[in-house]
């Protein structure tokens, strides 16, 4: 997920092998139109010119190009790949010209979008990360729901066009998609094959107990640091996804999906306390490293300091470009003594939102651009060049038919985790207002545990009470 944390290489590293194109079965290509078929003869339907309905569409004056702006948080390989998609869209037609602007981090995109919206200078499309979903979704009037936009321009679009994990995370109570799931990833375990071999470990750990004994073995063989986690999003990898992967509840009201009002966190729970206690014990001995939300941990893995790495699959491309040793990717370890684990992970990453308030002639362009982004070709290119999972079954079928996963088994781990079991009401996703703020409280708790200042149970108890007051504030503002 961390489009934002992904290291900002001064010179973007090389992506993976370019996708080998064509020659394969194209049966799915008719399902979703590709770049070529973008110019759809969409008749303009009616619609009010404000709030949640797309404005009455006006076709752009002939010969005049309409400029559209998209804000993202992409950097490095991910930015290069996204810019490629944008240029493909731009050259496929002449009515619209999309300009992508990267803000560098997810939180920056969110705060800039909010600020720009208030100043009536919002971009046409903006990329809002997983944790910001509730904040924008509940701000009715700030965006045009994508499903309405698509139906207005008669572009085929259904929630079922998307893989379950992505659709369930972003859909509304009525199973509609207000935004377009785009870059979706999930945390996986990267491991340094050389270091594990040196320590006589043949397989990456599958449970946390096994991880703890592997850490001891690594230490005995001179490898001090066994593990590091995502820098900016350790609360995502080690709290949110830890909970869904093991099937634990994260918050009441089905993790916030069924109601805003009265939703409370459930992070002050035994499994999370145990997990943080383990990380805290290892951190005291330097066997687990994490240095605050503003320090990237990618170098700790790629320069060989830590042997294993819990990080978003989205960083696969970046790690591949930087690591000078053979590495593997495996599923996250599961908590011990839990018969139901592993359950499924949920997507992290971001979805594309169409902002309201733009000139009417922009909206058809928005719809066509988003439609292009979900096309099998675009998704297949995106997934094969980054580390994000293909968000539509059509595109993952395309990749399979091209033999991509047999040559790139590392890319398949995230897909497996996301689709491991049918999601339960605890593992559909986490939909909390001001979740970024809740995560700040959680990060404080993690820092307190790792530095030995507080026990895991005390730290999580205080994060829970802080988080609950944030949720209460959200509920009162949104009148939920």
């Amino acid at each position: 997920m961390p489009g934002g944390t992904a290291p900002r290489a001064l010179t973007p590293g090389q992506g993976k092998d370019p996708m080998r194109s064509s020659g394969e079965k194209r049966r799915l290509l008719t399902l979703a139109a590709g770049a070529a078929s973008i110019t759809m003869a969409a008749a303009a339907c009616g619609g009010s010119s404000h709030s949640s309905a797309p404005p009455a569409a006006a076709a752009p004056a002939p010969g005049k190009t309409v400029n559209l702006t998209v804000w993202t948080a992409f950097s490095g390989v991910n930015a290069t790949s996204f810019n490629y998609l944008v240029s493909q869209f731009n050259s496929s037609q002449s009515q619209y010209h999309v300009t992508a602007l990267s803000k560098g981090s997810y939180s920056q995109v969110l705060s800039d979008t909010i600020a720009a919206f208030k100043a009536h200078a919002a971009p046409d499309i903006t990329q809002i990360f997983d944790a910001g979903t509730a904040t924008i979704m509940d701000s009715n009037g700030s965006y045009v729901p994508v499903y309405k936009l698509m139906s207005q321009y008669k572009i085929p679009f259904a929630t079922t066009d998307f893989i379950g994990g992505a659709a369930s995370y972003y859909e509304t109570a009525s199973n509609q998609l207000d935004s377009l799931p785009f870059n979706s990833s999930t945390p996986v375990l990267f491991y340094n094959k050389t270091e594990l071999q040196k320590a006589g470990i043949s397989q990456p750990p599958t449970t946390w107990n096994q991880f703890a004994s592997d850490a001891a073995q690594l230490l005995a063989h001179g490898q001090k640091c066994a593990l590091t986690s995502s820098g900016a999003y350790v609360m995502w990898t080690d709290m949110e996804e830890f909970s869904t992967w093991n099937g634990y509840q994260y918050a009441t009201n089905d993790n916030g999906y069924s109601a805003v009002k009265g939703t409370k966190l459930k992070i002050d729970s035994a499994p999370l306390v145990n997990h943080l206690t383990l990380l805290g014990q290892l951190a005291q001995k330097g066997q687990y490293m994490w240095n605050g939300v503003s320090t990237s941990t990618v170098p700790l893995f790629t320069n060989g300091t830590c042997a294993m790495y819990e990080q978003s699959s989205a960083d696969l491309g970046t790690i591949q470009a930087a690591a000078k040793f053979p590495f593997g990717v495996s599923e996250l370890p599961i908590a011990d003594n839990d018969a139901n684990a592993p359950q499924n992970t949920v997507v992290g990453g971001a979805s594309m939102w169409v902002m309201s308030g733009a000139p009417a002639v922009h909206y058809r362009g928005d719809a066509e651009f988003l439609h292009y982004l979900m096309s099998p070709q675009a998704q297949a290119y995106w997934a094969s060049h980054t580390g994000y999972v293909p968000v539509t079954p059509a595109s993952s079928d395309l990749l399979k038919s091209q033999g991509f996963y047999s040559s790139h088994p590392n890319d398949l781990v995230a897909v497996k985790e996301l689709t491991n079991k049918t999601p339960t009401s605890y593992t559909r996703g986490i939909r909390l207002g001001y979740l970024p703020e809740v995560r700040q409280a959680e990060a404080s708790a993690i820092a307190a545990v790792l530095s030995g200042k507080q026990s895991a149970s005390a730290a999580l108890a205080s994060a829970q009470s802080q988080g609950d007051s944030i949720l209460t504030q959200f509920a009162s503002q949104y009148g939920g």
Partner: protein
Amino acid sequence: MKNRRVVSAIRHVLLLAVAALFAAPIYLAVVVASHPARDVLSGVPALPAGRLANNIAHVINNPFPQSPSLGTMMLNSLILALGVAVLKLALSVPAAYAVGFFRFPGRMVMFWLIFITLMLPVEVRFFPTYQVTANLGLLNSQGGLILPLIASATAVFLFRQYFRSFPRELADAARLDGIGPIRFLTSIVLPLARPTLAAIFVLEFIYGWNQYLWPLLVTSSPQHATVVMGIRQIITAAQSFSVPQWDLVMSVALVALIPPVLIVMAMQRWFVRGLMAGID
């Protein structure tokens, strides 16, 4: 006598030691900026190496991600600093002249109104100021960057203090000679006030150049980024390398601090005077 010499020697040694300590971060920056990144991983070398020019050329020619070129950032910083300094003088000299040399209805009300601004620096009121700036459509513009920074009456106050000490006979003589107030200002007051003008100019230039929070809020497009506000993103970018690129960070830092430090060193007299102006 001998005792005194020893004390004096100790004093010089101590002062030089403290001065060296003060300068140590800059010296280390020069050392780091002149070595390849890998050299500093196991401890900073004692002496600079030969890569300083290379590294500075590198940061000038290769923009960091999500950043414009260093040249653009330096230019933006210069525009901001000069804009703040020039506009501040242009607004506050006439205002202080009006308060100091005229009697008109509401003079004191206006003065006190302005005076309240002294206590609320932009850091305190940045949030509502941002919203007003946004409402006016001034985000990502030089106006939005500069105007809120000069919306305080500090310089008016300083000039008024200066005008208070202005020899009254000159004004009387001018009036008797039939010289109007505008000509009096331009041909007598301003030339005499040149040192004070220079002092405030230096202070305001540094104030503008060193701004961090406000540009960070108001400029979301990279084309408007200033070099000071960009430093954190540059650090984040550099730290995410397998070998943290501290050499490049320090090169940028050195380039960014040269203009204000040079101005203070070169215009030390004015600068100190500017600092003292209010209590002069």
